[in-house]
Symmetry: C2
Subunit: 285 residues, 2 copies
């Protein structure tokens, strides 16, 4: 998104998987940690250490529970490691939604999840893009180059001789800004749909099938049906589900169950690539 490589959660062995799928680790400058259960962050210290051994120079930003800093620091201290790059910790408050990162082209919002310990989801949104200049109109009105920036931003154009051309005549609407919400780990909560309303792609955890709903309630996880219920209310273009309990052998069961409530659902697995554009969303194995 906007040429950013965001890593969301970092379980044990993440660096091995990044290598396996030939993803360039060095491009990751922002890591988001939802909560401090091990399957979501035990690989972080290993990834940071590998960055160090690879002579990384770029700053690395980590967003997550405030304890992340303490946990990483005690391990760097134990190894007497002086990192060759800047590590910035951005503590995230899990009690209410907040914008935690805002750059020129992208904005990230943390949203509270409902789990057994403090946990946040993350919404990644491209900011509104520039309108598309219509070249033939630029030529027709002989618009000077230095005025184009403002026109792209949506302003009308005033010529040197004082006449005004409406922006709509000079431009076409911008490419749609895309958004992705990551919601895990969490029990079902109506508010999740409110926070994620209208995102393009919604990932919602689905640890259990509806037959284990009591267990889902107890452990503060969701069933496939519950993930689909959130999607039904939030209306993403695509629902992704994952984080299946090891008791199940076939991811397809989750997809089938969710589809009874929200048709456009994909049960994800490791190594899957989801490519979203304004026109369509494609999935590669």
């Amino acid at each position: 998104m906007a040429e950013r490589f965001f890593l969301i959660d970092c379980g044990e062995g993440t660096q091995l998987q990044l290598r396996r799928y030939k993803l360039r680790m060095g491009k990751i400058n922002h890591i988001f940690i939802s909560h401090l259960h091990g399957d979501h962050y035990f690989g972080l210290i290993g990834l940071i250490s590998s960055f160090h051994l690879q002579n990384r120079k770029n700053d690395l930003h980590i967003y997550g529970p405030s304890d992340v800093e303490k946990i990483i620091q005690v391990q760097l201290d134990a190894a007497k490691t002086q990192l060759g790059f800047q590590l910035h910790f951005h503590p995230v408050d899990a009690s209410e939604p907040q914008i935690i990162l805002s750059e020129r082209r992208v904005e990230v919002t943390a949203i509270p999840m409902r789990h057994s310990i403090a946990c946040t989801g993350f919404i990644f949104r491209e900011k509104p893009k520039d309108r598309h200049i219509l070249p033939e109109k630029m030529k027709e009105y002989q618009v000077p180059v230095y005025d184009i920036y403002k026109i792209k931003k949506g302003e009308d154009w005033v010529s040197e001789t004082g006449f005004t051309v409406k922006n709509e005549e000079l431009t076409a609407p911008p490419t749609e800004s895309l958004s992705y919400a990551f919601c895990a780990d969490t029990a079902y909560a109506q508010r999740t749909a409110i926070f994620t309303k209208g995102v393009d792609v919604l990932y919602h955890e689905s640890t259990f099938l509806q037959t284990e709903k009591a267990l889902a309630d107890k452990t503060r996880h969701s069933t496939a049906i519950q993930a689909a219920k959130v999607a039904l209310a939030a209306q993403p273009r695509l629902l992704l589900i994952g984080h299946y309990s090891v008791r199940y052998e076939d991811d397809k069961l989750f997809e089938d169950e969710a589809k009874t409530t929200f048709e456009n659902t994909v049960a994800v697995h490791e190594g899957m690539t989801i490519i979203a554009s304004a026109d369509d969303i494609t999935i590669k194995e």
Copy 2:
């Protein structure tokens, strides 16, 4: 060794590798951590967490630098995890050799390594075993069953009528007690051979080839030749070398180099099994 399953060091992904090689994790009751560089312990918290999720009940003993406890505890606290089993931390002093575990059949000694941070090697020794009773002699002298325990321990036998039979006449020597020394990470040090003199199997790190000796010195690692020099002085039945720098593509280079100094050397790799008995040592891929 003596039906104990000892895990020595625990890098990231150790639990995955234990599963891959179908080793029964639950049998591990003792873990030894040499030092706090990540490749030697980042997988420990994940393994402990998995034990917890698997409802482990057996006590787990961890031997290593005192900071291990702090590092594990801060992560358990962050997840609000109350382990369902007892975790015992045994801090190891890296400054001098010491016996850190002594049970009925086995004893473990920590020995100082020479590395960039505090680091210990470990020597695992079977305690002397019982002598083998000669059944025909038991019959000949009509030795009562309740005297056999002491005879196995090496005592002479005194009959009810008062005559004495020398132990050597009643027993054969015990099966040889085996020993294994793990020496990593470390620069070459003559004392390593003194500590490990006469062990059956010696593992010594060999991060570099002799062409990179300057780098080995600087980073406090050893070359294959240096590992072999330690073996030449310690005279194990077998030298194992490993911990190769990623700069080399072929482990065989290490074996060839070491063999110029100590013939009975094997360059180890993941998944290898070494089975030692009094008679021979076999290696399975």
